[in-house]
């Protein structure tokens, strides 16, 4: 469980990262800001609370792994990997520019801290399963945190992976579904319905936890349950696409978008209000 102090610390951290993500989108001219904002709380609590890693040795072989299968979240993931000190924060100003080491889908060979180059959807979960299986063969007990999108679950390879995770009981893979309900062409249930998602996952042998993906206490409880579980766990995180930026929230058109100066200022103001409202929750208000 999170202490109040930890919770407040995570709120401040994710607020900073939301602003960094907005700034990066502004510098780049456009980006996958909707799904970036929805997944940031998940990434933040993994890295700043639970992940077993060494800041001074990002390739430490016994570290927990993170596979961001929804690779287009790179615009939110890159600021975090800079914040950890692994990449120069100034690079965010070059995001998506020609010859920048950082672009839309982060390259593990160029961005320190990325465990798998993703972007083509439906790849992350098989890779994460392999990392967990490899850990078992090599006698290591690290965890692999894998974050998928919800539209991404249309890809059959995820379900191939769920079958394998079940068969080999790979309980060191902890899967998060960023269930923000929207994909490029529209709401998930219109483009290709995935509900009843939790029932499907359970039918594939997964232990499913459903949480508010924008709530650190709920995410915290779920992750602790997953780490203690003898069965593989999928955490279905109910999130808001574009969380924190009022004019983007729950609008699939902001899956990928461009922002001008006027929008940028409005977004900044919205993020400030959003953060204050979330801090009020920490204080029980």
């Amino acid at each position: 469980m999170l202490t109040k102090e930890e919770w407040k610390g995570l709120e401040d951290k994710v607020d900073q990262l939301r602003n960094d993500t907005l700034d990066t989108t502004y510098w780049a001219g456009s980006g996958h800001i909707g799904g970036g904002m929805s997944v940031l709380d998940i990434l933040t609590i993994i890295y700043y609370k639970y992940l077993n890693f060494h800041r001074d040795d990002p390739t430490w072989e016994d570290r927990d792994r993170v596979v961001v299968s929804k690779g287009h979240a790179g615009i939110a993931y890159a600021p975090l990997l800079c914040d950890l000190g692994w990449n120069d924060k100034e690079l965010l100003k070059t995001f998506n520019l020609t010859n920048s080491p950082m672009g839309m889908h982060l390259d593990a060979a160029k961005v320190v801290g990325v465990d798998a180059s993703t972007g083509s959807l439906g790849h992350g979960l098989p890779i994460a399963s392999g990392m967990a299986m490899g850990g078992r063969v090599l006698g290591k007990d690290y965890y692999v945190y894998c974050i998928t999108g919800d539209g991404e679950l249309n890809e059959g390879s995820n379900w191939e992976a769920f079958m394998t995770i079940h068969k080999y009981n790979l309980n060191h893979v902890i899967t998060f579904v960023d269930r923000n309900h929207n994909m490029i062409d529209g709401p998930t249930e219109e483009v290709m319905p995935i509900e009843p998602l939790s029932e499907k996952l359970r039918a594939f042998g997964m232990r499913v936890l459903e949480v508010d993906g924008q709530s650190f206490p709920e995410l915290s409880e779920a992750i602790e349950t997953a780490k203690a579980s003898s069965e593989p766990v999928v955490i279905v995180c109910d999130t808001v696409k574009g969380a924190g930026i009022d004019f983007m929230e729950n609008n699939y058109l902001w899956h990928y978008g461009a922002i001008d100066e006027g929008m940028y200022e409005k977004a900044k103001a919205s993020l400030k209000r959003y953060h204050e409202a979330r801090l009020a929750k920490v204080e029980g208000k």
Partner: protein, 336 residues
Amino acid sequence: MAGGLVYTAVDSTELSTAEYYGKALVELGEQHPEVVALTADLGKSTKIGDFMKRFPDRFINVGIAEQNLFGMAAGMAKVGCVPFVSTFAQFASLRAGDQLSTDICYGKANAKVIATHAGTSFGQAGSTHHAISDLGVTRALPNLTIICPADSFETVNAIRTAYETEGPFYIRINRGFDHLLYPSSDYGFELGKAVELHKGTDITVIACGSCSYQALTAAQFLEGNEGVSVRVINMHTIKPLDRDAIVKAISETRRIITVEDHNVIGGLGSAVAEVIAETGKGCAFRRLGIQDHFSTIGLHEDLMSIEGIDSNGIITAVREVMGADFEEDDNWEDEV
């Protein structure tokens, strides 16, 4: 030269090419605890059952799910295992093509893909199980080393070399038995260095896989019966290609025929054509292979005959190319 047991022709009477792969894999498994084997319900077909029996905890069968197979292999490689991934070449290159490209090649995973049932070698299974475009697909994937061994011994060498060389490999072997080209596995295999199987000065036949034996047989016949001196090159490594052997053949024999159990588009013939074109030197050239159609059903040896990639087909092609008096053709630019 890769180390390990030396296999000789005595073993070959009982073991198919893929069974040699299975033996070589067990040998690697005994020496290296990080070697793992993965398959998609083709453990028996790809002959890695011995590895499964010896190392059940290092054998992963994901069921009929090739995309997951390749993603998992990449993940295992990323944490320090050396995965040997076996499935049919058609599925390795196409069904799981995106995973092969993105997870294994782009990710520079130290994973070794052993693609079996190459070309038309699964004859009676028909075109759904014939791999006639895998070389075209895989040749265009950066970071990937591609070997098309010509017999069992070369397969063993390819497997060992793949283990010893960091990075992604695609090794393409046949179903069933292959004619032996070498007396044993100890003939000095070197990655990226073609083997001259037969000396010759009139024309060069560049082959790979099961076609290398056919080319050698054709050369021996032509030399003995028609006085044609045919150089035969076994181009076991498709990428990186031995350019020097090709350039030497252009200048020394001026005529080249390629032969492969693959579509003539994208495979060995295309690779050799690229080198010839880039040298700017004149050279009579013919590509033997599947002539851009889906192959029919039948025994592998029959299909090789139908496609003109057996020794008879090669002999016919050599006669035609030798008979084409290209140097006296008015339209022929002899030297560029």
